[in-house]
Symmetry: C2
Subunit: 246 residues, 2 copies
């Protein structure tokens, strides 16, 4: 599968071209096409913004005319914030990503972005299959670099299999065995009984179960169980030191 | 539901603070908290970048210390690109958004972002419930403003009901009735028969059906049907004009 080209049509600020390149690199895109940039090309500010995405700027293709920039592409979606009063399908960025991922192998795709001042002209939009509009709360106009970022992010996310939740796992941080947990319960409850915290006796079982529930919820590692037991020892010692023996 | 606070911990560049404010406004957030900004506060470059999000900067709260900035919050997620070698849950931005949307009414939430140079320190991360890491293709470090944007975007998207696809609908662009479509078919097929395009006769029905399928797929509006019929009239006339009558 070829990754989508990012086509910036008459961009004004080098910073945004650099930010677009950086976003592309973050999310695995590489084909940057720049049509008639206002401040010429190459642009120093674009390079300053791109950080490690400079190779994408080095490889960027420059065009005078949007038709040339799109000529070899089979599928083109135009991004716009405004309703154009024309009858054209408008899709969200995740829907665009889903469709781009389903394009037959060999077909080339592209995402088209207008400039900072006014976005794409209606004539530019008329060259695209359909329109992507990024849903926003208000102030619909996103910064150019930000619009490119969100589209690249959605494209990447459409085939990303990062688990929605995981625990960073350090090898020394294995889960405790039940036996190790039971030893913690016994140790803690023993000390708490001794200091009179688990009192009166008829509440003791209920209180113990509540404490065990807290400990289970914390999903302690073996290491943390050991640390906790060390803390209990230290606190219990402190108690004895601070109060004279009866 | 209160919207999440965005907490920027020791940010360096005013531009990024402004970009964060702009992203917040785009996606309906408003509570910006700035901890020990390197270049002081207020910051001219932040205001230049914020465009119409300036009120968010005006209302931003300034803190010397991260503990103060988080004090009134019930739920805090820390964003980081790096594995910290500690056993802490790591979630994706959409999962974070889903959880933030489920926090009981009245509980206050926040998203914590580190600075441009090194992100959050381990000590900062230790104050948060869990960690958000934005999945990337490579070069995992996102620009600060971009990281804020993606988290705000996901928060907004979690309750956004924009249809994944819709047709921009201009009132004059009603769908044609079947009768109006049939008139188009008859008109087009009649002219194509007259010019000899629908030939030989035994292929005619198959060709007609293929043309009708193309027309259906285009999902024409009534207006477009009329335009198309005008084009057929013009083209048919042209043909007659160009060729001498037999």
């Amino acid at each position: 599968m070829t990754t989508p080209a990012i086509i910036l049509c008459r961009p004004q600020l080098g910073e945004n071209i650099g930010a677009a390149a950086r976003a592309m690199k973050n999310f695995g895109l590489s084909d940057l096409r720049i049509v008639a940039p206002r401040d010429g090309w190459p642009n120093e500010k674009a390079y300053a913004m791109a950080v490690t995405a400079k190779p994408i700027l080095d490889d960027a293709k420059l065009y005078d005319d949007l038709h040339e920039a799109l000529a070899d592409l089979n599928v083109v979606y135009a991004t716009t914030a405004r309703d154009r009063g024309i009858t054209k399908e408008v899709i969200t960025p995740p829907e665009a990503a889903r469709r781009l991922r389903k394009v037959p192998a060999g077909d080339k795709t592209g995402l088209l972005f207008g400039n900072e001042r006014a976005g794409l002209e209606n004539d530019d939009v008329s060259l695209a299959d359909c329109v992507i509009t990024i849903p926003t709360a208000e102030f619909a106009s996103l910064n150019l670099g930000q619009a490119v970022l969100l589209c690249c992010y959605e494209w990447f996310k459409a085939e990303d299999h990062t688990p929605v939740s995981k625990i960073e796992h350090n090898p020394i941080h294995r889960k405790p065995t039940r036996q190790e947990l039971f030893q913690l319960f016994d140790h803690l409850e023993g000390e708490l009984t001794r200091t009179g915290f688990l009192f009166p006796p008829d509440k003791r079982d209920h209180m113990s179960r509540a404490i065990r529930a807290t400990i289970h919820r914390a999903k302690l590692t073996y290491q943390e169980v050991q640390t906790l037991r060390g803390m209990i020892v230290a606190l219990a010692k402190g108690k004895h030191r601070a109060q004279p023996k009866e």
